[in-house]
Symmetry: D2
Subunit: 337 residues, 4 copies
């Protein structure tokens, strides 16, 4: 941490800051510039409330130097983490394709989709039984009945299942069915939920908030890791910007940046990131070219009748076409399918 | 809802859309332009999945016309809602000032602050016992012990207390102490939490997410209202933008916009919206001039030692000065204190 | 400037950075942390290409410490700059109200508006003769004929005139008429234009870009100041964010921040910042309460027929009402009108 | 255009709007909903000031239906535009790679880079002689001397040259040297400049503003096209968002969206879009996978000594490696190099 003093800060101001740093158990390292005095804080200062130091008289600015996450960082864990989900390795050279409907709506809808995505080449099945919906008047998901249908679809296809958990009190019931917990974008900073899944040993698929920075995404992963659950995947799913022509803006830069900063597997969700079915295929390919370890894609047999996210779902035949295109692309960027 | 067809959409495409609208129980109203056909959907279409219609062949765009919220809307409830909290009316001509520390840290810190803000003229006391923290390594709040200290501070000062609830499972314990539940910005779209507080009859102070639109804020309020709890206050607390010189960007436009769209009391939080203690007073005055019904402000006796949010906390004497300035300002914009 | 080395950067990497700093004429100041080495650059490093240093082997990050502007900074010019425009002092305790139509459309429209705003209490008249329009098919302004009408309106009312300049080649013709050059938001970083007005001695009213930071606004002012023209006013006019309910988001935080960072007069434009006539009055009052030195407001006698910006223009009677309200507000926040 | 009336708008309000629409030469088409009346405006309403209609009594909202651009639209020009630049076809199945330094700094720097990028496989040479710089104290470019060096480099390598034009008064001198005018991001809405290059017959490489929507980018292209110059390429170069870990956020969605909306060739600039040299290769590949017709990439022989943009420049050997990777990738996504 670096403390920048104001132009013309007094010697007393500087002394007071140095004293505060030292009483917190750190060493202070003074550097006298022509216009400013700068004070370096030496030691692992992750827990320090940097903002408080800004309150001290004569302080202009406090700059953090270290990334605030540790367990999620490549600095401390240089090799890629590979997570095995019912024998499917996630995070290694082989790409992982997760597909399925936004919501589980009925037995026939789910089984039809599950068989279709399996046939097309998906590695895992997604489907929500508990749904976060902007409107209290919209379909809220089938609940435990939906989980049972997911288990039945897994039985029928052999695909591991990924499903969303929204509140600490459903962690336990969902844990009876799910192979992977999904934490949705709106819950990226739902700390009681992160803490709750951190206590389990079920892998977690953590989606970036639409206004979360890459650093905050890794801090959210740190919550889960710090709880003892080391099986975390992170997923770029589009951020909110001024551009309204698409539902969100896929932050493609985040993919190589995440690969550089963390050892955790990195996914992308081109369905939510674009919100338009006809942009899914080109952006899905872009994510793989940028280095993503896998994709999560919404597929629905009859998108116009979907109870949620129809506009950003692929029909099974379009999904199958995309998988064929990815099979051509993957070796051209050094990956396997 | 308006469905805009593509340039050169076929008659069959148009027929298919009309049919889909009618089988959903609405009337379709065709309008043939020179370049486009436009189909109006007649009826209360709030529950319709507008995005799904975009999947139909020949559809260019679907435009929603109605605001998706109803109970929160001034259209259906033209008079201001006034909420009485232990006899303090919130939302009428008199301004409501809520002040106190970010976190309850100790008995002495809380009581010192409570007496100071009471003395300065605050109407209610804020303080968090359960804290959402970006880092798992940061102070997470005192829990129920903090709630007991808040109750003691209420006893000592007569000030009603506002405290944050972060998860459905703590709604009940916090409800034993709180006069107002605070829902924090990161939980604005924590739907299980909104549903849980909607079942109580304790007033709710709902903060706008840093990534939430004004419309989404009112949809979150709608969740609580739809649950039967009609005592909701909404609070602008800064949104996330590209500007990094301040912690967030106070969306001052949102204040008169909220007053126009909703009958619920509208607050502002200049502490979080700026993140800098020396910007709190000018922006607090701005919010009142723009029509806010009240303010929530962080006050700490020793900000440089605060366990959270020190940089955006006022010292008690600065808070007292601000209240004096607001007493001069309020009548100049037609309000009382 | 602070150079943060990577975890495990080699001694050779550190030596190379120190050498590069020293060959650029600065002193390097080493600070060995537990996890990182940090190198301070001592000297006035404003002209240094900080980003280039990031290219050197072993460098993690380069952090600039000094604000890059100097002439615009309060550090080097602590007193408020007061600019006299035909005897009207701008930037002192008295507020300055600039009003008028977006575009000069005709003699009658301009004179009617000019007399009305004068009568209502405006201090200066605004009106565009050269208009930046998003569409090539929209009205582009009356050009020099519009400037003549502005001069006639000045004659009739005594109000100094503010009008926009869009290109270096019209600086000279506009300079024959204007009392103040306006630089529009889209031209905040039109460097040839900034350079051109910097060579004149006519005051400049510089609007913040809808995606310019406060720091970039002051760097744009620095361009003009560095050219020798010290009469610059800066204006917050709304930034572009994810919120679409209003045309832009008025960054109210920027007003006290600008007052803290610069000695130049600070204005606000609630017309562009909201884009909605019914939000102008509350946000105008907010800007004054936050410390703005003046306002610029669009007024049109028949907004529904305006050739540009009708939706964000006040009718003369509503403008007069606003001025009456500001006369009540100003003394309550320590200002005069 | 659709005009949505307020809940409980009076019959007189509705009549007044209909009258206004009809006196502007359009037909009004009424649609009575259960809660709102909606008025369709029939005819090519691109030139109508939609915002003004919002001023009329009883109007809630005005929604534009048509895209405001016409010449740039695929609706009116379904086939891809292919532009020939000194025999190099741009916009067809073959990808176009433009490379070179940010600024022309010296004869040796430019020639060394030009030969290196030619050798590596670039199709064109970029280099700025007139530079837009945020700071008035930074290097501003070599001016016409730089243009002469670019011409010499073209002579030496056969590569067509792309160079930036910043002001209408330099259009003519730059036109004597350039094969393609580059309009930089900060000038996307510099309307006098767009008009000036629209009058020439030299191809234009138009970069998206960091604050421009895709629609606004195509409106800027429309300015040039409407002037008679039909040789326009558009380029995504990163937008400004809340994420600060990268210089900008590459809007990858914009690439397939542009390909859908316009027939003009679509480029991407991974150097500016990321601001970090080590993110250029993965994002460059992503852009090609997403459907871009070409790339523009900054290359500098000694990035740490570059006078601008060093941190986002590739060394020649890294650029050569990227071109080799693109040669593998291109056929996997149906393109040639």
């Amino acid at each position: 941490m670096i403390i920048v003093m104001k132009h013309r800060a007094s010697a007393a101001d500087i002394d007071a800051v140095v004293k505060q740093v030292e009483t917190s158990g750190y060493k202070a390292h003074l550097s006298q510039g022509t216009e400013r005095t700068i004070i370096g804080v030496v030691g692992d200062d992750r827990p320090v409330q940097s903002h408080n130091l800004e309150m001290l008289s004569g302080v202009e600015q406090v700059v953090r130097i270290l990334q605030p996450f540790k367990l999620a960082s490549r600095d401390f864990h240089p090799e890629d983490t590979v997570i095995s989900v019912r024998g499917v390795p996630v995070g290694g050279p082989r790409l992982t394709i997760i597909a399925g409907p936004c919501s589980v709506e009925s037995r026939s809808q789910l089984l039809e989709t599950a068989l279709a995505v399996k046939e097309a080449g998906a590695d895992m099945l997604r489907g929500g039984a508990y749904k976060p919906r902007t409107s209290p008047y919209a379909f809220q998901g089938m609940g435990e009945e939906g989980l049972e249908l997911l288990a039945e679809a897994r039985e029928a296809t052999g695909l591991p299942i990924v499903t969303e958990v929204m509140a600490p009190e459903t962690v336990s019931v969902i844990g009876k069915y799910a192979d992977i917990y999904q934490i949705g974008a709106r819950n990226m900073q739902n700390f009681p939920l992160l803490t709750a899944v951190g206590k389990t040993r079920i892998p977690v698929f953590l989606k970036r908030s639409m206004m979360g920075t890459v650093q905050e995404l890794l801090m959210a992963a740190e919550y889960i890791l710090a709880g003892g659950n080391r099986q975390v995947m992170v997923c770029e799913r589009g951020i909110r910007t001024f551009e309204t022509a698409t539902r969100n803006t896929l932050d493609i830069n985040a993919i190589p940046l995440l690969k550089k900063w963390t050892h955790l597997p990195v996914f992308a969700d081109p369905s939510h990131a674009t919100g338009k079915w006809d942009l899914i295929a080109p952006t899905a390919k872009a994510c793989i070219a940028a280095g993503a370890d896998g994709l999560i894609i919404e597929v629905h047999p009859h998108p116009a009748e979907a109870m949620s996210d129809g506009a950003q779902s692929l029909k099974p035949e379009r999904f199958a076409q995309l998988v064929r295109e990815l099979r051509v692309l993957a070796p051209a960027v050094g990956r396997m399918m």
